[in-house]
Amino acid sequence: MSEGQPGEVLVVGADLAGAGRADLLLRDGRLADPATAGAGAERVDADGLVALPGLVDLHTHLRQPGREDAETVASGTSAAARGGFTAVLAMANTDPVTDTAEAAEHVARLGRREGHAQVVPVGAVSKGLAGAELAELGLMARSAAAVRVFSDDGHCVTDARLMRRALEYVRAFDGVVAQHAQDPRLAGRDACCHEGDLSGRLGLPGWPAAAESTVVARDVELARLTGSRVHVCHVSTAETVEVLRWAKGRGIDVTAEVAPHHLLLTTDEVAGYDPTYKVNPPLRPAEHVTVLREALADGTIDAVATDHAPHARHDKEHAFAEAAFGMLGLETALAVVLETLVLPGRLDWAGVAARMSTTPARIARLAGQGRPLALGEPATLTLVDPAARAVVDRAASASLSRNNPWHGRELPDPVVATFWAGRATYRRG
């Protein structure tokens, strides 16, 4: 699909991820010597803008196949491009589940045909996400979809033996298991509010922090046992961060991601029973938010991943305890990171590039993403205005869904343009 200008784009005077100002020439999908720019090149004045390698989202729900009323590959990746993303890993809990090579190739094909960003299917760990038998991990890896990240996200792989087998098995093709850490015996399907003062007062089933940290503790031990790498999805608690610090201190190959909503929103948002703020794992008290920010800044948490979870309106218009879990996140992720970490001076642009592009690309073993902004590299980058701000309007979203927890909030509005392999997938204005 061709979008944006075929032909050259000369970006003038951008700050290259904090490394200093330079010009960038995008030609034939790669970065070329700016001095060789042709007269017909489109000039983009990037004075005051920062150029980042295209952002990579390790955790997106595109809902296609199965719930095209909530989101499609087209609409989801359009939202991704608006958010500065050039690649998204599409979680496997679609309908049908992505647990075979055929299903994975179907999603990859959809991505190639209709995607405004690179779509990389995530394969299920277990057949049908049932947590009982391994899915065809090897076939998915060998397929044209080249699956490397496997996750039953939405469900926890609770069986220790199954988790061990999966961790061992994927080593053969440099894969990684990404765990949705939630012990169902401590936090069941009904659990929807951080277990604490508020859940007791509101009469909502509690989701204790220990339900997450105990699973992560077990999984890092399994990673140690098997010598494999393991990835932790959507870290939400200080307790889990403690486990991660311990594990990394022991040299265990564990990586972790945090979602933007866990960096800014607290459990207090739930006091009005508004299902917009219902998410799994749930929003936590402020003490946890503080620890998560520190952990992302110091690298204990390796990456930001949106867990973009679109839902049709009627799936959220239920009583809180019965409404669907999840929030939108692709379009606002960078804004939240800016607001919570960059503007307060806890993280610089090089740090943002690492946590939102380079490291996720490495975890997912994605060639062509998260590359340096240098001659010969792919022209896959995001131009960012650090100073722009706006009030979020959920109606002005590329997503088909409207479950946006940021609606009405004033946040940075950073993304100016997104380029994927030389073609502009998003331009502001």
Partner: protein
Amino acid sequence: MRHLLSAADLSLAETTRVLDLAEEMAQVQARPVKKLPALRGRTVVNLFFEDSTRTRSSFELAGKWLSADVINVSAKGSSVSKGESLRDTVLTVASMGVDALVIRHHASGAPGQVVGWFEASGIDAHVLNAGDGTHEHPTQALLDAFTLRRHFRRTEPDRDTFDGLVVAVVGDVTHSRVARSNVALLRTLGAEVVLVAPPTLMPSGVGSWPVATSTDLDEVLPEADAVMMLRVQRERMSGGYFPTPREYTVGYGLTRDRLARLRPGAAICHPGPMNRGLEISADAADAAGSLILEQVAAGVAVRMSVLYQLLGGEDLPTNRGDH
């Protein structure tokens, strides 16, 4: 009062007003013509997502004795199972032109969410919470307060508040909306509240509630002016909250032996339905100090009072935040 969602929303003045009016309404129950014209022409819908013959009949009688038109809509099993959202269900009912929606739902917070949807759609109907999940059951707390106030006034006729009185609430507090509403209302009335339960049935964060807590019922009973026994569900055993019913009864049941530990004149309450022999012995349920039957009788009068407070005056324009 625009809506009644939570006992915690009621001030002492409002509570007293409701209870005083309930005294007047209670007289209607004894009359040959059980009718007052105050809500003539008003329409009240009982929208119950959970079974409850007792509460629903109580609301139905309350509305009818005030001359309102009352209909019952049983939504049990609808909404989620038929794919219709809760919002669609309540807006459909409200758009028929109802003045008040009495709603009982199995999910905490549902009535408050309904108010939000009504306000966003410009619907003026009043919302009355008849029990939402494990969150609140404000009319139950009001009828408990009504019953207790009458009881305390037998020895102290001028008593307007519960200052200086100790009320023990015993049992599955975690899963009890009756407990939450009662804690709020008893505190508003000035009572000292003690929660008694095994640790597994105490709510998380109870340390921040304005109550004392204890796991020893025998220690608390001699200090209590009233004991409110909560229903314990046998299903809680499958959640592993306590090992066996007999262990529960030995630790937390109001047995015949425990009756002797109560102060003379102490009241015994239970919101019903009772598990005789589990949380309350037959002896206790039928003891001289038992107010259980009075509680049942009080339900209609209290609900008449609440319906009048909500519907008995002029229609106010929809006012966000005015509940």
